[in-house]
């Protein structure tokens, strides 16, 4: 019984952090991107369509819509508003100053492809989708369980 308990504890110790880390949403750019970090305010602005420049270059936001949970995290943690308020903010920004709304992409593979080809692109995804990928760089954790 004691041995079983030890095995269980070890299993929790070994697999627990991996599971927890995989349940994180991270901000991602191409590995050679000039972007080194973005504050939470800058990330919010970027995904609301507001122009954000780094070294004089305009960043391009890619909204990852590959699963419903990511959408919930996007609304709650990244832009901090309801889908209705987000829709209106995008319309207002375009109407006022011609802001370009973030591109919406429905699969992780496509998000990764878009990041590969655009050094100014910024997106977010589950950590498990990006870890061990040398062509992408994780800037920060946006949400974690």
């Amino acid at each position: 019984m004691r041995r079983l308990l030890c095995i269980l504890l070890l299993a929790c110790g070994v697999f627990g952090p991996v599971h927890s880390a995989s349940e994180s949403v991270v901000l991602v750019v191409r590995a050679d991107s000039a972007v080194k970090d973005l504050s939470s305010v800058e990330v919010r602005k970027l995904f609301l369509g507001v122009p954000v420049l780094v070294d004089g270059k305009l960043l391009h936001a890619i909204r990852n819509r590959s699963d419903a949970r990511l959408d919930d995290i996007f609304l709650q943690q990244i832009v901090a508003m309801t889908q209705e308020a987000y829709d209106r903010q995008i319309l207002v920004g375009l109407n006022r100053q011609g802001w370009v709304r973030p591109a919406e992409v429905g699969s992780v593979a496509r998000v990764i492809e878009d990041l590969y080809v655009d050094p100014q692109a910024v997106s977010y995804m589950w950590l498990r989708d990006v870890e061990h990928n040398p062509r992408l760089k994780v800037l920060r954790t946006l949400w974690g369980e």
Binding site: L58, H60, Q89, L91, N95, R96, G98, V100, R101, Q120
Partner: protein, 357 residues
Amino acid sequence: MRVPHLLFALLLLGSPLARGDTWQFEYLMMPSAQAVGTFDRQAPFTQFYDEVVQADNLFTIQRGPFKLFGEYLLSDHEGDLERLQLGWQLSSDTVVWMGRYHQPSSEWNHEHHHGQYLSTSITRPAAEEWEDLGGILPQHFTGILVESNHAVPNGMYLRTAVAGGLAPQLTSDGMEPFDLVHPDHNRRLAGYQARASIHPSEFADTGFGILAANDELAVVSLPTPRAFGLDHVDLTLVGAFGTYATPSWKIFGTWYYVRAGLDYADHLVHDRFSVGYLQVEKRLGHDFTAFGRIETSVGASDSPYLQLYQEAGREKYIGGLRWDFMQRQALTLQLGKTDTLQGHFADIRFQWCAALF
């Protein structure tokens, strides 16, 4: 070279400065259709030129910090390039525009422009009305506009806009702004505008601000026979505006104090009046929003400047109900009662509007 061609050429010439950046495009159409009925008509002019069917088309072509932004309004009585601006994003907070813009000393313009879907009420306040719909203040200019949004101490945000450009001219049909597609060679004078407001956060609707403008309107044909000898009008505008917004309430208003100098060939007529409005919106359940607006004026009845506009209103009361019945589509019913300088009338309107990407 016509101005739209010039702006396109400048965008292409500027694009090498954005080497490595990809081209980005955006398009939005905001169509609307409305039925209008007037009754109790005791005024010769009843603003019946309101567009009944219209499609407001917005587009952006962007490469790096440069963008071309346009708004083309197609309606049952006009097709007009309302805005065409070449923008240079100086920083994340500041953009410089060149082209035809909506004058920034109007918070209503900043919030709504021509987009019916973004406006809860069907009609604009009379003080904010477009030139070709009987407006009394110039709205479209061609020149330079600088817009900015900066964080200031105490976690507040300061939004500013300053602009200067060619002002509309006064004609027998009211004011006519410079037309980029069909430019004329009439005499035009300049106008300068500014707006500054403070907000508790970067994206907050709530905020308070001040505005100022000085616009000179050249007269190219007599607005009314009584204006014989009028050379130009010098308009000076100062005002204040504010918005208080919660998830269920929105209250906003603007007050303008206007000083007008009517410069005749042999004499100058001084004039002053004030116009303003207050609008209240209450979000009800089931995607309904109730709204009401009071528009009033001081010194409008005997204003020589306002006598140049046959449809100028003194007071107006509107109330209505909007139903956002599905995503980005709404139906609105609005009732109004208007006192013009020459009488009064009431109107009822029913509108469908949408925003389509």
